[in-house]
């Protein structure tokens, strides 16, 4: 077995993912980077099941694609290019909207005033709604576990999350409940009030600005993939 352990694929809802702004890096060379989420889990890899809303080339003829992936709580943004051949192959076969499962590394970009998290898929698979429902349940269960750990304030990362985010745990609990309701009632999507719709449009615009601000470019091979970490 090689020295470094593979990173577990964490489960979190888009709502929490998009609010994860804190990056954890170690000075050691080639050591993995993580984002710390508001409920105190550090993640380097995630597993997400949701609806692929659209895929769009960031610039024409680059074969570098931006994807938007929705769960019941919000939208993940991801980027897929030729350095993720497996994911790219599947992506190009899919006609959105379609339910997909995505295994992805987490990317975090920091600008002067804001930061931006996105997915860099390793694998994409078309799945059915049973898989989506179980993912929502599983993600809800694990998020509730993390909320409990936040309340007991013992682990190091939990304490750090309090310090960085000072989160309103009730807010996260209610997001989890809403998500669970969707699988119980068979509703497709939780839609917030109209205010939020506006906000999302704004976010989309902002996203494009962010790409420019961070000179978002295709990334090269990540050695950790090859080493199976």
């Amino acid at each position: 077995m090689n020295g470094r352990k593979r990173e577990v694929a964490r489960r979190l809802f888009a709502y929490e993912f998009n609010r994860s702004a804190h990056k954890i890096e170690s000075a050691e060379e080639r050591s993995p980077t993580y984002i710390l989420t508001p409920t105190g889990v550090r993640c380097n890899r995630v597993f997400v099941v949701g609806v692929l809303l659209d895929r769009e080339e960031t610039k024409p003829d680059t074969n570098f694609w931006r994807i938007r992936l929705s769960d019941p709580t919000g939208v993940f943004t991801g980027y897929v290019g030729r350095f993720q051949p497996d994911a790219l192959e599947t992506l190009l076969e899919v006609e959105p909207p379609e339910l997909i499962a995505v295994v992805a590394k987490v990317r975090h970009f920091e600008g002067e005033t804001r930061s931006f998290v996105s997915l860099r898929p390793e694998n994409i698979a078309v799945v059915d709604s049973d898989v989506r429902d179980y993912w929502v349940y599983e993600t809800a269960r694990l998020t509730l576990e993390r909320i409990k750990a936040m309340e007991s304030k013992e682990e190091e990362d939990v304490l750090l999350a309090w310090q960085v985010y000072n989160p309103d745990l009730e807010e996260y609990r209610s997001v989890v409940k809403q998500a669970l309701q969707t699988v119980i009632e068979g509703a497709v999507e939780v839609r917030g009030e109209k205010e939020e719709d506006k906000e999302e449009k704004w976010e989309e615009e902002e996203e494009k600005q962010l790409e420019e601000e961070f000179e978002f470019e295709e990334e090269e091979w990540d050695l950790s993939d090859i080493l199976g970490e």
Binding site: R6, V103, V126, Y137, E138, V183, G228
Partner: protein
């Protein structure tokens, strides 16, 4: 003084366990002298006093339970005992507190137990997969489960012996998040059954081979990952694709890798319930099935 009392207690107990009565006051006095007056390290002081007592009682090391008794992990049932264990490090976890230098699981033929090495113990780090003699560790109970703590008076010695682990039956529910290379329709060496790359066996070179179907993959439940190997039977049960069908796919598509692509299409990103034995590295699958759950019910229970 608290330290002296503890050490005294430790020595008295060691002699008592071997059937000898010693004078605690005398021990405490000598320890005090050595540690506070002469600044001798604690472990040396303990050894010196122990040697002195053995001379006084005219007994040798054999008669005295030389170290804490060597026990099997299955026998660790009560907290607060000094024991020694011969065990293999199975898994190291991330330490959750700066006071802990290492935490993880160790095991022997009889069982598996959590161990904690305190940062204050200043011990060298142990490595996954290696076997050690854990001398003088203290049993403890945490959250209703037994564990052993490695402290300053403990010793960890690497041993040549490869300590065997108990066969571990395991059931996992998780998503198949990766299927690794050399899965699908593969070729094995007729002589040694090893997987061949481009018809070449790593041991026997260019030799005759035979077809086999297998998947090496990662099942991940959001907290842990498990490396699993699915054999032809497992794969046929899940997908209806056995060796015969796999060969047919390869022939039709004129490519053996088409089999892997097809298996990925059908299995990747799905949830499974897997039962099997935990080996050194892989979970050897006995049964595997697509996860079936009454989602409304389990989701309702969470609300």
């Amino acid at each position: 003084m608290g330290g002296i009392d503890k050490l005294t207690e430790q020595i008295v107990k060691r002699f008592r366990d071997s059937g000898f009565d010693v004078d605690a006051k005398e021990i405490s006095k000598r320890l005090n002298l050595l540690i506070y007056e002469f600044k001798v390290p604690e472990s040396e002081a303990v050894r010196t006093v122990t040697n002195y007592l053995m001379k006084e009682l005219d007994i040798d090391r054999e008669q005295l339970a030389a170290e804490s008794p060597l026990v099997r992990i299955a026998d660790v049932t009560t907290p607060g005992k000094w024991v020694s264990l011969k065990a293999k490090v199975i898994q190291l976890w991330d330490a959750t507190s700066p006071n802990i230098s290492q935490v993880g699981l160790i095991g022997d033929e009889t069982g598996i137990i959590k161990f904690v090495t305190w940062a204050k113990a200043e011990k060298e780090e142990v490595k996954e997969g290696k076997s050690y003699l854990f001398k003088n560790v203290v049993t403890d109970s945490f959250g209703g489960r037994m564990q052993v703590n490695v402290n300053r008076n403990s010793q960890i010695v690497e041993i040549e012996e490869d300590v065997q682990l108990p066969p571990r039956e395991l059931e996992v529910v998780g998503a198949l998040i990766a299927i690794q290379q050399n899965s699908g329709l593969i070729r094995r060496c007729k002589l040694c059954n090893r997987t061949m790359t481009k018809d070449i066996c790593p041991l026997h070179g260019k030799t005759e081979g035979y077809d086999d179907l297998r998947i090496k993959g990662i099942i991940d439940d959001g907290k842990n990952f498990y490396e699993v190997i699915l054999n032809e039977d497992n794969i046929r049960e899940l997908t209806g694709i056995g060796l015969k069908e796999a060969r047919k796919i390869a022939e039709e598509k004129l490519e053996r890798s088409a089999v892997l692509a097809e298996l990925k299409n059908r299995l990747l990103g799905r949830y499974f319930r897997v039962a099997g034995m935990r080996g050194e590295r892989y979970l050897i699958v006995r049964e595997v099935e697509f996860l079936k759950q009454d989602i409304r019910q389990i989701a309702g229970e969470l609300l």
